[in-house]
Symmetry: C2
Subunit: 200 residues, 2 copies
DNA sequence: TAGGAATAAGTCAGAAGTGACATAGGCCAT
DNA sequence: ATGGCCTATGTCACTTCTGACTTATTCCTA
């Protein structure tokens, strides 16, 4: 999988391992991330398999770098992979796993965690919104682009923005519902089903 | 991480490896999944570390099973983990990675993939909605529960339902926008910026 | 009576991913 | 001149995860 992400980036423009590393912890992080300890060995493997070629580039006052470019074979592999329908991603979310177990925690601690997580996602949301602003400034209003690359970039961005937006919303609504739940518990402590009767 | 998911389930009720495996490919799949080749060794490791204890249970007409139960040490570990704030999950989604590269594909192929993916997520959404119906039938309308376990179960479910809903919506809107994009391309082929003028 | 499904428990090789460690030159500020 | 940051490339040990293979019993159906 990582190899295809690399191929896609190299298809746009030849890059060094260092450049790739910056992308995988920067703009591309929306949908894929990788550390440099994964990238360098992967590039070597890909060169062995002729998907990419490297060229040594020396710079008067910088360490030499190896700039990788995609080969026709690499492009072929990329297109082939693109044609296959991806399977559903399994959802793996530590926060949800914890949420599932929150009944073991003091209610205030659960609230605290929800509030904190809302903040984390909101921060990432703002980052994505900024990226969108930046994209719009460079390429004009996105619904009118004529560049397929910009178009699909924008579509990808929309998805992660929507993801973060709905996550933040969920945290907030869970907080509200939890407070209501607690109020229900302290109000009519006696009858186990009092709340149901009141609502009906 | 897997160990905490296991501890949480064992806290509810002692289970065999086989039972756990069913949960990790069934109801619990919303937010965590694991194969049995992960579960069995993990249980052994956890028993070595005294987080769980196993008891051999023989059954007249079934293979013998090992039923695992959480220990006080295990519960302590679970509570401690629960108290720590989880970090943001990195988003890793093969579909989004492909979407980012769709400019390399024939437009019809991109449409096909989006439509197919919408269907996959819709199917999962329907599955979650059914789970919610089932939960409501058993425990009454969720906003009025008095059981913390049911409450947090419901909250977790709400999140994954919202996730799937927004994913399906995104697929559909991307499809629509893509068709508009293509129309814009074939309409005013000549001027590179004709579309912008028309919109303004 | 043969085969399939469900119950039950594993192993193992390999891929993927993480975090720490290692090295090295140049730039800039204190 | 010393320390910290940026460029630049790597290794290594470890954990996690995946998919395939293995074994055994019982129950039901064709």
């Amino acid at each position: 999988m990582l190899s295809f992400a690399i191929l896609e980036l190299l298809h746009r423009k030849p890059l060094s391992g260092y450049d790739l590393r910056k992308r995988f912890s920067g703009s591309i992080t929306f949908f894929w991330k990788a550390g440099h300890s994964q990238i360098y060995p992967e590039l070597k493997r890909m060169e062995r398999e002729h998907l990419v070629v490297s060229r040594r580039v020396t710079h008067p006052y910088r360490p030499a770098k190896k700039v990788y470019a995609i080969t026709p074979e690499g492009e072929e592999a990329l297109r082939q992979w693109l044609g296959e329908a991806p399977a559903l991603q399994p959802i793996k979310d530590e926060m949800l796993l914890k949420c599932f177990a929150f009944h073991l925690l003091e209610p205030e601690q659960a609230d605290q965690q929800l509030a904190h997580h809302a903040e984390l996602h909101e921060r990432r949301l703002n980052h994505f919104l900024e990226t969108r602003r930046w994209l719009t400034e460079r390429h004009g209003p996105l619904p009118t682009t004529r560049d397929p690359i910009v178009f699909w970039n924008a579509m990808t961005l929309e998805r992660v923005i929507e993801f973060e937006r709905s996550y933040v919303e969920w945290c907030r609504s869970a907080l509200t519902l939890h407070r209501e739940f607690l109020a229900r518990m302290t109000n009519g402590q006696a009858g186990a089903d009092a709340g149901v009767g009141e609502q009906a």
